[in-house]
Symmetry: C2
Subunit: 218 residues, 2 copies
DNA sequence: CCAATATTCTATTGATCCATTGAATTAACT
DNA sequence: AGTTAATTCAATGGATCAATAGAATATTGG
């Protein structure tokens, strides 16, 4: 007979799968798009073997699935709600763990120093987009952009930022976004564009959160 | 300088705190009401020392806080959203982990065998309550009931069920609830009341979920 | 101040987890 | 078939975790 404790134990297995920074990084990458082991390994700075092992733990916990495509093994999230789950975990951690706040403010320190304005919220961004007031800039790598992006967003991967400035409108404010609230790409982009004189702010979330909230994507 | 990985590592610490069945049981109990270590230990079948250790891990992860009240140490959840977090974890696990489904269906097996109807959803319950169609029965221990309960709910702790049948209306359908979807109390109550000829169903969630959803409590 | 109670701290043991390495599998290409 | 590339499997040592028991610390009431 199943007891309540058995259920908690099983639930705990899932939580334990989330209990490793590398696995959280893998999940963030997977939230952008499904990907092969090698892609995931380089995105997260893990050896292929190590990445594979972590992915299998995530699979055992029911958080990702794998399917073979030729030589490659393609992993994907099993469930859109995993993005919500991670977002909620983040919120709880940020409000209740001093250490978390400290790290976040460190990550934002450069922005503040350079006088960057506050990040743009989902609601604000949605309103601005509807009124055509802002241009959206996706600074993620091209493959992630192609797998899905915010409506009307221009893609300039961060490495090519200076080379592709022509694509950016000069007359509108620009909102840059990337993988999520902890992704460094859009921070970096905002800094560099500000120095070039652009009016630019950061979207406080990322593509996966936008999509998981049920907002329109392309 | 803080890196993204530091943030994931810190986030992982919080997830790891959720990665133990006993700690999840402690959190479920804490979701009912704040409580002293001894209360929590007996509710979860842990030794006091062991419970204390787990509680301190939860505290380090920012999930609970403690304050002294005389000789006792009272623990409470730091954040209402932890209930949502656990609920979402549960949903993800139930949809994507076969083992989970198996255990849940085992827990529900008795109900099905005894011909009990499906559990009542929040939405359905809210509608029924507004129309005065059902009577609510809270089968949790009295102290949890006193710390908060659904509006108009009658409290009959499970042990006193047969002794206090007078409090139950005979003309309405009864909806029994307890601590949450995995709590055995309301299952047991439904079974016993059905054998006595009552029309009774189970609320599929519990008091904490109802409260965390922002629905009215007393 | 002393005794009783509630809880936490410390130390220990066994279990589990993590990263790394190299061998083994699987599928595509020639 | 044999070679190569992508991934998984298996085994290792070091680190962290869980449970238990007993000592230590606060708090209340005499």
């Amino acid at each position: 007979m199943a007891s309540q404790q058995d259920l908690f134990d099983t639930l705990a297995q899932v939580a334990r799968a989330l209990g490793n920074g590398h696995r959280l990084a893998l999940l963030e990458r997977l939230a952008q798009s499904s990907a092969a082991v090698e892609t995931l390994a380089t995105a997260t700075d893990l050896s292929i073997g190590n990445a594979s092992q972590h992915l299998q733990q995530l699979r055992r916990a029911g958080l990702v699935t794998a399917s073979r495509l030729g030589k490659q093994m393609i992993y994907r999230l099993t469930d859109e709600r995993i993005v919500n789950l991670l977002g909620l975990l983040r919120q709880v951690a940020e409000t209740n763990l001093a250490e978390m706040e400290r790290l976040v403010s460190q990550l934002f320190a450069e922005d503040d120093a350079s006088g960057a304005l506050e990040a743009v919220s989902s609601r604000e961004l949605l309103a601005s987009l509807e009124r055509g007031k802002v241009a959206l800039l996706d600074v993620r790598p091209e493959d992630e952009y192609r797998a899905g992006h915010l409506p009307e967003a221009i893609n300039i991967p961060l490495e090519q930022l200076e080379a592709m400035l022509d694509s950016l409108p000069r007359d509108k404010e620009i909102v840059a976004y990337c993988r999520g609230p902890y992704c460094a790409l859009s921070h970096e982009a905002v800094q560099r564009l500000r120095q070039l004189g652009y009016r630019v702010r950061r979207f406080e979330e990322g593509y996966p959160e936008w999509k998981a909230a049920g907002l329109p994507v392309m």
